[in-house]
């Protein structure tokens, strides 16, 4: 039980831990990426383009916040993209075909997301099937439901200005930049998520559950309940993001959000959250969301052909992950 540790250790460890932290290497990569795109195309940093990126960023970013917490607790959710599509479709059907008030329809959409998350969480925790399989099945159910109830046709979304539209998809100008209120949602929810994960008692539980579930349970942490609530949260955030998107483009499509689940997981993991649970970072996820957004935006600007688009996205994400792993390994060694 002897450990060779100098008195100096805490201080030097603290400094190197900043460099070693996963967020830090992600941030370095993001800066390099932004610089490369900015040099390759002058329009990349134009107010119009930045406004454009900031309009898209919150929609996936908000889901990524929930996904970060869920991944930190050791689970993940593949049904978020489908929920992103289903929630606005249900809300709009209730308003247009059912004649319900928009507020009531939104409440119904919220309850639907809560139900989907609860079903995911309960099956994963009570029956003990891996979240990969459960949420993959849920993806099919939810996406199928969205297609069936709309017969595959997109719905015209709520385009009358009003409280809810302003709340979710209003826009405002700062100088030559045009921002949507969704950015505030993203910033507000990010701050909340940072607080919860790193400073609240619940965050300690979430990390502990993902790190060693048995240890957490043995200390009296209600691991299953925490996971179920995180599934619900992730579903609700996916639904919220779907509503924001539908309001912004004034259309609710049953295929909206297809493939988002993997993009969101990529954002979270590129940011430095461990896919295996226990280690999560909201700051990293924000960096990851910015990174994926700017990759998607940047490669269009520099003129990659439309059909080759995903090849580049995939290769760049892979390169990010490799670079990330190498930086980490290097930092750990020094």
């Amino acid at each position: 039980m002897t450990i060779a540790a100098e008195q100096e250790m805490p201080r030097s460890r603290r400094r190197s831990s900043l460099i070693r932290s996963p967020q830090f290497s992600s941030l370095v990569i993001l800066i390099v990426l932004l610089a490369v795109f900015a040099i390759a195309d002058a329009n990349f940093l134009s107010p119009l383009n930045i406004s454009n990126m900031m309009a898209f960023l919150p929609e996936l970013g908000i889901i990524a916040l929930g996904m970060t917490l869920l991944l930190t607790a050791g689970e993940f959710d593949l049904s978020v993209g489908a929920v992103f599509g289903l929630a606005p479709v249900v809300v709009m059907l209730l308003v247009q075909n059912g004649g319900f008030d928009i507020g009531i329809a939104l409440l119904a959409g919220l309850l639907l997301c809560i139900a989907i998350g609860a079903v995911n969480g309960l099956i994963v925790t009570k029956i003990g099937i891996s979240s990969f399989l459960v949420t993959l099945s849920m993806l099919l159910v939810v996406r199928g439901a969205a297609l069936y109830i709309t017969q595959g046709f997109p719905l015209k979304s709520w385009d009358q200005p009003g409280f809810f539209v302003t709340l979710l998809a209003g826009s405002f100008n700062i100088g030559t930049f045009r921002f949507y209120t969704s950015l505030w949602w993203f910033i507000g929810l990010s701050l909340l998520a940072i607080y919860v994960l790193h400073y609240a008692k619940l965050g300690n539980w979430i990390s502990a559950i993902g790190s060693n579930r048995n240890a957490a349970v043995a200390r009296g942490v209600p691991a299953d309940a925490v996971k179920v609530w995180l599934f619900i949260l992730t579903s609700v955030l996916a639904g919220l993001a779907g509503m924001i998107s539908a309001f912004r483009i004034s259309a609710a499509s049953p295929v909206a959000g297809t493939g988002y689940e993997l993009e969101v997981i990529a954002m979270v993991v590129v940011g430095g959250t461990a896919l295996t649970g226990g280690r999560g970072t909201i700051l990293g996820t924000i960096v990851g969301a910015l990174m994926l957004r700017s990759i998607r935006n940047g490669i269009v600007l520099i003129g990659v052909p439309g059909l080759a688009y995903n090849i580049f996205v995939g290769v760049i994400i892979l390169a990010m992950l490799i670079l990330h792993a190498l930086l980490q390994k290097n930092a750990a060694r020094s």
């Binding site: 502990a208 200390r219 009296g220």
Partner: protein, 258 residues
């Protein structure tokens, strides 16, 4: 003084009678070793005491009071802390956060699970605790548990149990997978735990360790307690033969006759 008394505990899983009958007492400041081969019922017994599952029949008394233990939380509240090898700590959390996992000091308690951790208090209390149990200078309370060795982790887990003034600390195979030096460290630690007035129930395969730290041995076989002796009254060979279940009666009589 008696701290824990088990009376006729029974537990079956389907048709398997994992625990046929177990009764024993544990006194204050006593280290009792629980021995037995795989499948002897040791883990069923400690899981019942630590609240992993309820027993079918039988009673548990803590300091003479009959108690019912339905969850790990119940057991902890009664002062029974169980430490399993490798399953006690979360490696991605700091030492301080592990020490207070599930009992975090918080501000604004009314916020429930959203209450902010009292990080200063957490760190100070952790440092004080590490110092009190004699592992102060060596470990930084902010270090991640994943950076610690197996023996250090055991010591942290045991310290945590001591800190909450546990009456009974159950150590499940605490020296498994540890090197020689680390094993001695942990065993020394067990003696310190006893000196501090806690009672220890030590589950192990290694009989040599038992003779180094235990006051009493209890041997289980096929779901029953088959022998109970103070360490001073027995020896390694006898205990070993009881565990394996070689023809004991004759052998025991012979040893006792000596």
């Amino acid at each position: 003084m008696e701290v824990l008394r088990l009376h006729n505990l029974q537990k079956s899983f389907g048709s398997v009678r994992a625990l046929k009958s177990a009764s024993f007492t544990l006194d204050e400041g006593e280290v009792v070793a629980l021995l037995g081969d795989n499948g002897a019922g040791k883990s069923t017994l400690i899981k019942a005491i630590s609240g992993v599952f309820p027993v079918d029949r039988g009673d548990i008394y803590v300091r003479g009071q009959k108690v019912s233990i339905r969850s790990t939380r119940d057991a902890m509240d009664l002062g029974i802390e169980t430490i399993h090898q490798d399953t006690s700590l979360a490696p991605d959390l700091s030492i301080a956060r592990n020490l207070f996992l599930g009992r975090e000091p918080v501000n604004l308690r009314w916020l429930g699970v959203f209450a902010p951790l009292d990080l200063a208090k957490l760190r100070d209390a952790a440092a004080a605790l590490l110092k009190r149990v004699g592992i102060s200078k060596k470990l930084d309370a902010d270090a991640l548990v994943s950076t610690l060795s197996g023996g250090e982790r055991q010591s942290i887990a045991i310290s945590r149990a001591m800190q909450f003034a546990a009456k009974v600390i159950i150590l499940d195979e605490p020296t498994n997978n540890l090197g020689v030096e680390e094993t001695h460290g942990v065993l020394r630690f067990v003696k310190e735990v006893r000196a501090a007035g806690h009672s220890v129930l030590l589950i192990t395969h290694n009989i040599h360790h038992v003779f180094q730290v235990a006051d009493r041995v209890i041997v289980m076989r096929r779901g029953e307690i088959v022998a109970e002796q103070t360490v001073a009254d027995t020896d390694l060979l006898t205990v070993e033969s009881i565990i394996t279940g070689a023809d004991m009666s004759a052998l025991l009589k012979e040893t006792r006759a000596k």
